[in-house]
Symmetry: C2
Subunit: 139 residues, 2 copies
Amino acid sequence: MDTSALFHLLNQKVRLLSKELNEHLQKHDLYTSQWTILYVLSQKGPMSQTDIWQYLKVEAPTMTRTLARMETSGWIHRKPGKDKRERIVVLTEEAKEKLPDVMKTIKQFEQQFVAHISNSEQDQLYHLLEKLGTKRSDE
Amino acid sequence: MDTSALFHLLNQKVRLLSKELNEHLQKHDLYTSQWTILYVLSQKGPMSQTDIWQYLKVEAPTMTRTLARMETSGWIHRKPGKDKRERIVVLTEEAKEKLPDVMKTIKQFEQQFVAHISNSEQDQLYHLLEKLGTKRSDE
DNA sequence: GTTAATTATTTACCTGGGTAAATATCGGAG
DNA sequence: CTCCGATATTTACCCAGGTAAATAATTAAC
């Protein structure tokens, strides 16, 4: 069992995935990671920065940086919360208007990327991936 | 079929994989990406930079940068080839000495990471991943 | 043989992942 | 009330992926 080859393939596919998605998102002035954040906000509504990085399992400074870029490019706004330490992230009106169009691009690309595997294979893949990792899945 | 969830999981697992492997490689003064290059060189012998980036499916500037770091830290040496444009990358003697020890760390970590899936599941996972992507697999 | 296209590498600059340490604010112990 | 630990965010600095454009050297065309 060549586990190294498996990890190598895993890395390459994920890199390819985000590279190609970035290309498709270019026409919306957006990047893959930024899309992930927009999507979470559109589903869950306004969240503090900590809520977001914990949910996406990324470190806090990464979130600070990406949100700063997204604020500059007009996708989000950060308003003060009741607690003066935290900042609540909300989608701008322009973002809300543009979202359906972006969503269309994403869906189309995702379908292309899984074109050669069936729905049940997607399911299998998901469950196999879930089992990867050194940590227990229930934490 | 929530394809977005599949891609999200894929991203998270790969990020986790390289983050944790980086932690384990720290004691060897090495990073995941650098290990990948060392491994290729140990298997295939001296290669030009172009050989390496094409094999690893990475862009040329990424390779230039990482090799420069690896030369500074003493893992590799870049010697001129017959063609004055190209540089041939070779492992240093120290690198060859240290390799077996690094290999041990890698193998141990990899086994931990796949601990919850069987050999045949690893095989399934590999073949499912192979089918992902927008390009035909034969190019 | 000189010129033009191609090839190998590099430089400059972007996004995005990480860690360590600095602020700033909040909350609880005393 | 004061001080001290915890929490939210930021800053500074890594590594690693990308693109566009600049060199440098080789090859092909004429």
